[in-house]
Every structure is written in structure tokens, then in C-alpha cells.
């Protein structure tokens, strides 16, 4: 089995996780910027975080033979503070030239507030102005339906944004249709409680097909499973999925999307 982990917050995982992922067939990891579990007190905290994502973490992944890619932003959980958000947005261009940066992410909404919307629109402008891919976080639980709709409308209202260059992550049964219908890519996050289980993700694949869709673990500092993608692949196999279809969803699709960035290099053997 070979797979790409397209959404893993590796800064909060141990080296044992890298080793387990590599042994399970992982060929590359992609790490969006996210909330640290606490609010940073200043833009300097983000500066250090972006250094970690663009300099330190690629070296750590390389110890296990894994190419490491990243995405930059201020997470919507910290977007209520507009002054801080503006300061963070101002330093992102300094890091955009780093060789492992694929785009802007994971941007989006958390509680669907007005300030979150303002910061989302600024991120969209930053991405469009710099021809960057976009990776979007959709809100949790009761806020997901509304937030996903607001995010799609914000992206569609900017004529520079091409849906095929945006992945809308954390879709579930009530949002996947609107994402794919609007021409965007969809990401299914395999979380034990708050997002998709493997079985539900496979159901969604059966219902919506395997074009413009991927699965990820979004492993982070919370309850999450770094090997969720290969475990889901095993479940697909148990359910009778064709090996070629499994490979497409967990390996070829992430490559197809991320290859839209000139910084992404497909692993050998595709």
C-alpha cells in the first residue's frame, strides 16, 4: 500500500508516528497551519511557527524518508482578533517562497462570525494575488453546514479563484454534495468522534465517486489517529473495493491536487 497524508499536524506528533506512517506506506505528508490549542500572544508566535513548518519539520520528516509540504495562515479560531490577524497575514509572504509551501491553509471558519469572514476574505485575496492553492477548514459539528455554505460563497465571489485549485476539508454527508457540485475538491477527515469514520467515508465514496476527493487523518494534539488513512484503505479492501480505486483515493488524488503547485514533486513510481 502507498498513500499520501494530505492533512497532518505533524508538529504535534511524535517521531514514532512518522516512523509508523512511513512503515505503513506513507510517501509524503502535507501539513496545514492550525490552532495550537491555545491562542498565541503575538505575531512573533506565528513567525516561530512558520519557521517550524518551513524549516524544522521538513528535516524531521526527512529522517523517515518523507517529503514534507506545508500551508500557511492564521487559523479561524484566532481570527476574532483582527489586529493580530492582519499582523500575521503581513508576514506570510515572507514564507511563501519556502520550497515546501504549497499554498494558503487551513483557512476557513470556526464559529461563522463576521470577523472570521473578514479574515477568510483576506486569506482568499492573499492566495489569489500570489497564485497559491487553497486548503479550507470547515467548521465543526453544528456549525459545519452553515460555515461550508458561507465559505463556498466567499470563494465563488472572487473571480480569480478557480475551484479546482481549492480543497474544502472535513466534509461530511450533509456538505460533500455542495462542495463537489460547485467544482471544488473535497477532503474527508477520519476522526473518531467529531468528523467522519472510515465506514462513513467509504459510504461517501460509493455515493459520490472518487473524483476530486481525498481522505486524511488531520492528526494533531487531540484524539486522532495518524494511521487513519491506511486503516480506511484496509476497510475499503475488506468491503471489496478494487485496489486501483483505493490507490486513486489515497495516493493518486492527493498527488493530482497538490501537483497544481510547482513546488510539489510526485513520489517516484506514479
Amino acid at each position: 500500500m502507498r498513500y499520501i497524508e494530505p492533512h497532518g499536524h505533524m508538529v504535534s506528533r511524535t517521531t514514532d508516528d512518522y516512523q509508523a506512517m512511513a512503515m505503513a506506506g506513507c510517501q509524503a505528508v502535507s501539513e496545514p497551519a492550525f490552532w495550537a490549542g491555545f491562542d498565541r500572544s503575538s505575531v512573533q508566535g506565528f513567525y516561530d511557527y512558520f519557521c517550524q513548518l518551513t524549516q524544522h519539520e521538513p528535516r524531521r520528516a526527512a529522517m523517515f524518508g518523507l517529503p514534507h509540504y506545508t500551508w500557511l495562515c492564521i487559523n479561524p479560531k484566532e481570527s476574532e482578533d483582527l489586529k493580530l490577524a492582519d499582523e500575521v497575514l503581513a508576514i506570510i509572504p515572507e514564507f511563501m517562497g519556502s520550497p515546501n509551501v504549497l499554498g494558503i491553509g487551513e483557512i476557513g471558519l470556526n464559529k461563522n462570525s463576521r470577523n472570521e469572514m473578514l479574515v477568510l476574505e483576506k486569506h482568499i485575496d492573499l492566495a489569489a494575488s500570489n497564485d497559491q492553492l487553497i486548503l479550507v477548514h470547515t467548521p465543526h459539528l453544528e456549525d459545519k453546514r452553515k460555515g461550508t455554505r458561507l465559505i463556498l460563497d466567499a470563494l465563488k465571489s472572487d473571480s480569480r479563484i478557480r475551484p479546482e485549485r481549492c480543497i474544502i476539508d472535513h466534509v461530511e454527508e450533509h456538505t460533500v454534495g455542495m462542495v463537489l457540485d460547485d467544482g471544488f475538491w473535497a477532503g474527508m477527515t477520519l476522526y473518531p468522534e467529531t468528523k467522519c469514520t472510515s465506514n462513513r467515508a467509504i459510504d461517501i465514496l460509493e455515493l459520490y465517486g472518487n473524483e476530486r476527493i481525498w481522505m486524511n487523518s488531520a492528526c494533531d494534539w487531540g484524539i486522532s489517529v495518524p494511521l487513519a488513512v491506511p486503516r480506511a484503505a484496509q476497510e475499503m479492501k475488506r468491503r471489496g473495493s478494487d485496489p486501483g480505486q483505493i490507490d486513486k483515493v489515497i495516493y493518486q488524488n492527493p498527488i493530482e491536487f497538490m501537483s497544481q503547485s510547482p513546488r510539489f514533486t510526485a513520489p517516484e513510481g506514479l
Binding site: 462570525s113 459539528l141 459545519k144 452553515k146 461530511e172 468491503r239
Partner: protein, 91 residues
Amino acid sequence: MADRKNILDLYFLDARARLIDIAAFMDRVDRADGGDDFRYDAFRAALKALESGKPDRAGKMLLAFSDPTDEPITAATTKAACGAWPGADNA
């Protein structure tokens, strides 16, 4: 098209266990002291999707827990989601 017997062979026992766990959860809530709670109200409303006999039960259940409004809220006063919409007056 999946084979129904195969799907049941793979998932019946797991689904049965989860269903009993839900029943036990509801018994547990009933035994506990306290008043109404919007989360449990939403939970009971969502259960109706199971009995609908129509496809996309999972989607309908998710919608039953969802904020049905379309406008951004004035300001985020918390970072966490609780799993059920508390209503416009409490959002």
C-alpha cells in the same frame, strides 16, 4: 452494487452494539437529575431520521444537529462547538 448479506456480515454486530449503546445512553440521561437540555432535544429529534425509511439518513441526522441559519454571527464568544445548535437566542 454491494451485496446486502456481505454488508450485514461486516457491520451488523458493530451497528447492533452502537444501537444498544445509544439506548443505554438515553436510559442514563433519564436516570440523571436535571432539566431539559437543547442537546438532548436535538438528539431525540435526530433519531427520527432513523425511522424515515428514506435514503441519506446520515445526512438528515447531521442536519438535525445543524445551525439552520445563513448569516454570520456578530462575534464568536467561544471556540468550541457542542454538537447541537442551541437556537438563535442562545447561539
